[in-house]
C-alpha cells in the first residue's frame, strides 16, 4: 500500500512477487473503514467548536459529556447486536421508559396518593410508604428486575422476528406502541419520585463508567472472539448460508434482541439515577441518537458488519457534537438539523460501502 499512494491505473498483473501484497485498497477507503475516521471527526468538532464556546474544555463540562456518554453507550451496544444480526430495534426508548418507571415504583421511599392513586399498580407495587422492595438492598433487586424486564421485552421482539418471521422494524415499532401505552397507563404520565439514596450510587461518575466499560469490553469479546459472535455476524451476512452451516439462526436472533433489551435497561437505570426519578417519557428523543451513533461508528444497517470500538467512538462523536452545539447556544431545531444531516451522511456512506463491496 505504501509503495505508491495514489492508487491509479497501475496494471495489477505483473511479475513482482504478490504473495504478501494485500488487496490494493485505496487509502481513503481504508480510512473510511477504520475507527480513526470517527475519532478524527470528533476531533474536528472539538477544534472547530472550542473558539466559539465558553468552557467546552472545562472539567465540569467534560464530566458532563462523560456522564452523557456512559448510558448512551450501553444502549448503543444493545442496538449494535441487533443491527449486526440484520435487524433493528426501535423499541429501545420504550424499554427505557418502561424499565425506568417500574424500577422506580419498586423502590420509591414514598409516593403521594394524590399523584398515583389512579395507577393500576397502586397498592400492589407501591403505596404511601413506598415500593415493595424497600429502599436498602431492595434497590439492587429492583435493578435486576429492570434487567429482567428489558430482557423479556427484547426476547419477545426476537421471537416475533425469528419465529414468526415478521420484519424487525414492524415488530419493534409495535412493541414500542404497546410498551409506551402500558408505561403511561401504569403511571398516569407521572414521574415516579423519591428514589432512595442507594439508587444515587449509579449516578456516581466512576460507577457509571465502570459499568459501561465492563459491558463494552464484554460485548467486544463476545462479538470478536466468541462462537456466538461469529454466529451473529454470519446470520447478519446471510442467514440461509448460516442455517445450512448449522448456525442456530433463530436462537441467535432472539438472543441479540434479548441482549438489546437488557443493555437498554442498564442504560435506563443510569439515566434514572441521574434524573432521580422514574420517567415515563425517558429517552423520548433518543432513538435517532442511538441509531446515528451506531451507524457513524461503522455498524451497518444492512447487517453483518460493526464493532464495539467503532460504536463507542460513534457515541463519543454524538455526545460531543450534541454538547458542543448546545454550548454554542444554537436553537433546538438547528441542532436537530445538524444531527439529521450527520446521520444522513453516515447512512449514505454505509450504503455506498456495502454497494462497492458487493461489486468487487
Amino acid at each position: 500500500m505504501d509503495t505508491d499512494s495514489p492508487p491509479t491505473q497501475k496494471p495489477a498483473l505483473d511479475t513482482k512477487p504478490r504473495s504478501a501484497t494485500e488487496a490494493p485498497r485505496p487509502l481513503w477507503r481504508r480510512f473510511l473503514d477504520s475507527d480513526l475516521f470517527v475519532l478524527g471527526l470528533t476531533m474536528v468538532v472539538v477544534v472547530v467548536v472550542v473558539p466559539f464556546t465558553h468552557g467546552f474544555l472545562s472539567p465540569g463540562n467534560l464530566l458532563n459529556v462523560a456522564s452523557n456518554f456512559w448510558p448512551l453507550l450501553l444502549v448503543v451496544i444493545g442496538q449494535t447486536f441487533v443491527l449486526i444480526a440484520g435487524g433493528i430495534d426501535l423499541s429501545q426508548t420504550a424499554i427505557m421508559a418502561f424499565t425506568s418507571v417500574f424500577g422506580a415504583m419498586l423502590v420509591a421511599t414514598s409516593a403521594s396518593p394524590a399523584l398515583y392513586a389512579k395507577s393500576p399498580f397502586w397498592g400492589i407495587f407501591f403505596n404511601e410508604t413506598g415500593g415493595i422492595l424497600g429502599s436498602g438492598i431492595g434497590v439492587g433487586a429492583a435493578w435486576l428486575v429492570m434487567l429482567g424486564l428489558g430482557a423479556l421485552v427484547g426476547a419477545l421482539n426476537g421471537m416475533f422476528v425469528a419465529r414468526v418471521g415478521m420484519p424487525p422494524f414492524m415488530v419493534t415499532l409495535t412493541t414500542t406502541l404497546f410498551i409506551t401505552a402500558f408505561t403511561v397507563w401504569s403511571t398516569k404520565s407521572e414521574n415516579i419520585l423519591n428514589l432512595p439514596p442507594a439508587y444515587d450510587w449509579l449516578a456516581t461518575d466512576w460507577v457509571a463508567a465502570c459499568i459501561a466499560v465492563v459491558i463494552a469490553v464484554l460485548a467486544h469479546v463476545i462479538l470478536s472472539r466468541s462462537v456466538y459472535g461469529q454466529w451473529l455476524y454470519s446470520t447478519g451476512i446471510n442467514a440461509r448460508t448460516a442455517q445450512v452451516s448449522g448456525v442456530p439462526v433463530r436462537r441467535v436472533i432472539v438472543i441479540a434482541y434479548l441482549l438489546s433489551g437488557m443493555f437498554t435497561a442498564m442504560g435506563a437505570a443510569l439515566y434514572t439515577a441521574r434524573l432521580g426519578a422514574g420517567r415515563p417519557t425517558l429517552g423520548a428523543n433518543l432513538l435517532m441518537d442511538v441509531i446515528g451513533a451506531a451507524v457513524i461508528g461503522g455498524v451497518s444497517l444492512m447487517g453483518g458488519r460493526g464493532r464495539i470500538t467503532g460504536a463507542a467512538l460513534g457515541v463519543l462523536f454524538f455526545v460531543v457534537l450534541t454538547n458542543a452545539l448546545n454550548l454554542m447556544g444554537l436553537e433546538f431545531y438547528t441542532i436537530m438539523w445538524i444531527k439529521g444531516l450527520v446521520i444522513l451522511i453516515a447512512v449514505a456512506v454505509d450504503t455506498l460501502r456495502t454497494r462497492m463491496e458487493s461489486r468487487a
Binding site: 491505473q9 490494493p24 466468541s226 445450512v244 448456525v247
Partner: protein
C-alpha cells in the same frame, strides 16, 4: 490492417487483475463482421472478465479495444449498449412478475403521443415483431413467470435485439434450454450474423462450440493459448489446450469400497407435492448417485434429509438413530454435511474470507469452555482443509470468496464440510458451473471421503458423471424413486428411460449428456 473485411472488434493487449492476481494477461483477438467466435476455457480462465470488460462492467488495467476501427472504452453497460455491444446474460435479468413487453422495454418504453405517458399499444406491436423474429410464440402481455426457462432465455435474447446490435455476447446460453430450443437459438444466431452482427459465444458444451463457431479462442489462466478457425480444432484438442495437459481421464480411478454398515437410512419419506414414499439406504464408504429430470424432487429430498425442510411422514435414521426434528444443526452434529445446489445464496458468505467460510460449520468444536473461538487453531485447520482441495486463493484469511472462481468457490464449500469430518455427505450438483480441472478434484475428494468410510449421496444431472463416480444410482421421477441401478447394471439408456418414466428417452441431441437439464412440462 488492410485485410478485406475491416475488423468489427479488436482486443489489443487487454489485461486485468483482481487482488493482485492477474486474471487477464494481454489478450489480442480480432473479430470480423458476421463472425461467430467461440470463447472456451476453464472457469477462472478469464472469459467472464474479458466479456465484462467488453460489456463495460469492468475497466481494463491495460490494453485497448476498437469497435469498427474506432477506439472503444465503455464506462458502463449503458455505454456498451449504445455502441451496439449487447450481453445476453447467463443469469437471466428478467422481472418474473412483469409481462413480456414490460420486460422488453423496461429501460426504453415506447412513449405515447403525449410526452411522459407510455404507450402499451405501441409496446405490444413492437414486442410482437421482436417475438416473431426470434420465434417465440407468446402474447406479449403474458407474465414472464409463466414462461419456461428456454422461453425466458429467448426473451432475454429478444431484449438484446431491440437495438441494432453490432456485437452480441452469449454466456452459456443453452444451460437451461431443451434440444429444440437450442436448435432454434443456433438458427437465430446465424440469422444475426447474416444481418452483419458479430457473435461471441461462451460455452462449456464444446460440441456446440465446434458446431456453431467460425473461429475458436481458447483461454487458460488469463492468457490466450490458442485461436484459429473451427477446422483446426477438435473437442479433444480444445480440452487439452484448455487444461494445459492431456486429460484423457476426466474421472479419477476409484479406490473406495462400500462396507456393510448402513449409515443413512431413509424410510418412506413423504411430503405432499414434493416427494412421495422415498426409501433408500447409504452404507459407509458407498457413493450413491441420484439422477432425475428437473423437478423430479431430488433437491427437495436432499433438503428434507438434511433437515432444512419439513416432511409429513417417514423417517430419517442416522446410524440407526431416528432424527425426527427438521433442524440442520442436529443433523450436522450427527455427522451429516450438505453441499447445496445454490452456493452463492446457501453455501457461502460471499463477502467473507475463505477461512471464515470454511470454519463456519465447526465453530462449536473450536470453542473453549467459555464459548470463545480458538481462532488460531481454527485458522490452521481451515487452511489445511483448503489445501487438501487445492483451493487457490492469494490470501485465504483476507480474500472474500466472491472474488474466487466458481471452482474455487465450490472447493470452499466442500472444504467447510471436510472440516466437520462428515460421516454422511450430501452433494447437490457439486460440479455444476465449474471447470474440468476442478471437477476432477471434486471427484477425487468424493472418492477419498468414501475411502475414509463416509457415506456419500450425490445428486447430479450429468449421467456420465454419476456413472463414473457412484456405486449405485437411484433414479427419481415425480418425487418418487423410480429405479435403482447397481454399478454392474449401469446403462445410460435404461437409466434415462427410468428418469423419463419408461416412455423412452428419445432426445434429438444424441446421447443426452445432461438430460437432467430440462424437459418442459416435467415440473412436479
Amino acid at each position: 490492417m488492410t485485410t478485406d473485411p475491416a475488423p468489427r472488434l479488436v482486443f489489443e493487449g487487454v489485461a486485468k487483475g483482481f487482488f493482485g492476481v492477474p486474471v487477464l494477461r494481454g489478450i489480442d483477438i480480432t473479430i470480423a463482421p458476421g463472425e461467430v467466435v467461440g470463447l472456451v476455457g476453464e472457469n477462472g480462465a478469464g472469459k467472464s472478465t474479458l466479456m465484462n470488460i467488453l460489456g463495460g462492467v469492468l475497466a481494463p488495467d491495460a490494453g485497448t479495444m476498437r469497435l469498427d476501427g474506432v477506439p472503444y472504452a465503455p464506462n458502463n453497460p449503458i455505454d456498451a449498449g449504445r455502441a451496439g455491444v449487447v450481453f445476453v446474460h447467463q443469469e437471466l435479468n428478467l422481472f418474473p412478475n412483469l409481462s413480456i413487453q414490460d420486460n422488453l422495454f423496461i429501460t426504453d418504453f415506447p412513449k405515447a403521443a403525449v410526452p411522459t405517458f407510455i404507450s402499451p399499444g405501441k409496446a405490444r406491436r413492437r414486442a410482437r415483431d421482436l417475438l416473431a423474429r426470434i420465434g417465440l410464440d407468446r402474447d406479449p402481455r403474458t407474465t414472464v413467470d409463466l414462461l419456461s426457462p428456454g422461453e425466458r432465455q429467448q426473451l432475454e435474447i429478444a431484449k438484446s435485439l431491440s437495438g441494432e446490435p453490432r456485437v452480441v455476447i452469449f454466456d452459456e446460453p443453452t444451460t437451461s434450454l431443451t434440444a429444440r430450443e437450442t436448435k432454434r437459438l443456433f438458427a437465430l444466431i446465424r440469422e444475426l450474423t447474416q444481418e452483419g452482427a458479430s457473435v461471441i459465444y461462451i460455452s462449456h458444451i464444446l460440441a456446440d462450440v465446434l458446431d456453431l463457431c467460425d473461429q475458436i479462442v481458447v483461454l487458460r489462466d488469463g492468457s490466450l493459448v490458442d485461436a484459429g478457425p473451427r477446422q483446426s480444432f477438435s473437442i479433444s484438442t480444445m480440452i487439452s489446450r484448455m487444461v494445459g495437459r492431456d486429460l484423457d481421464r476426466l474421472y479419477p480411478e476409484r479406490h473406495a469400497q462400500p462396507t456393510e454398515e448402513v449409515v443413512l437410512d431413509v424410510r418412506g419419506l413423504s411430503e405432499p407435492g414434493t416427494i412421495q414414499d422415498v426409501t433408500f439406504q447409504v452404507r459407509a464408504g458407498e457413493v450413491v448417485g441420484v439422477f432425475g429430470l428437473m423437478g423430479a424432487g431430488r433437491s427437495e429430498m436432499a433438503r428434507i434429509v438434511f433437515g432444512l425442510d419439513r416432511h409429513k411422514s417417514g423417517q430419517v435414521l442416522v446410524k440407526g438413530v431416528e432424527r425426527p426434528k427438521a433442524d440442520p444443526r442436529s443433523r450436522i452434529n450427527a455427522g451429516m454435511g450438505f453441499v447445496t445446489e445454490d452456493r452463492r445464496n446457501e453455501g457461502l458468505l460471499m463477502d467473507s474470507s475463505v477461512t471464515s467460510n470454511i470454519g463456519l460449520a465447526v465453530l462449536p468444536r473450536f470453542a473453549t469452555a467459555l464459548g470463545l473461538v480458538r481462532t488460531a487453531a481454527l485458522r490452521v485447520a481451515a487452511l489445511d482443509s483448503s489445501k487438501k482441495l487445492n483451493l487457490k486463493s492469494s490470501r485465504p484469511d483476507r480474500q472474500p470468496v466472491r472474488s474466487l472462481s466458481g471452482g474455487n468457490q465450490q472447493k470452499a464449500v466442500i472444504a467447510k464440510w471436510l472440516l466437520t469430518k462428515p460421516e454422511i455427505l450430501i452433494l447437490d450438483e457439486p460440479t455444476r458451473g465449474i471447470d474440468v480441472g476442478a471437477k476432477h478434484e471434486v471427484y477425487t475428494v468424493i472418492d477419498e471421503l468414501a475411502r475414509m468410510r463416509t457415506a456419500v449421496l450425490m445428486i447430479s444431472s450429468e449421467l456420465p458423471e454419476l456413472m463414473n463416480t457412484c456405486d449405485r444410482i437411484l433414479v427419481m421421477r415425480r418425487g418418487e424413486v423410480e429405479g435403482e441401478f447397481a454399478a454392474s447394471e449401469f446403462d445410460e439408456t435404461m437409466i434415462l428411460a427410468a428418469a423419463f418414466g419408461q416412455s423412452g428417452a428419445a432426445s434429438d441431441r444424441g446421447p443426452a449428456v445432461s438430460a437432467g437439464a430440462s424437459v418442459p412440462g416435467e415440473v412436479a
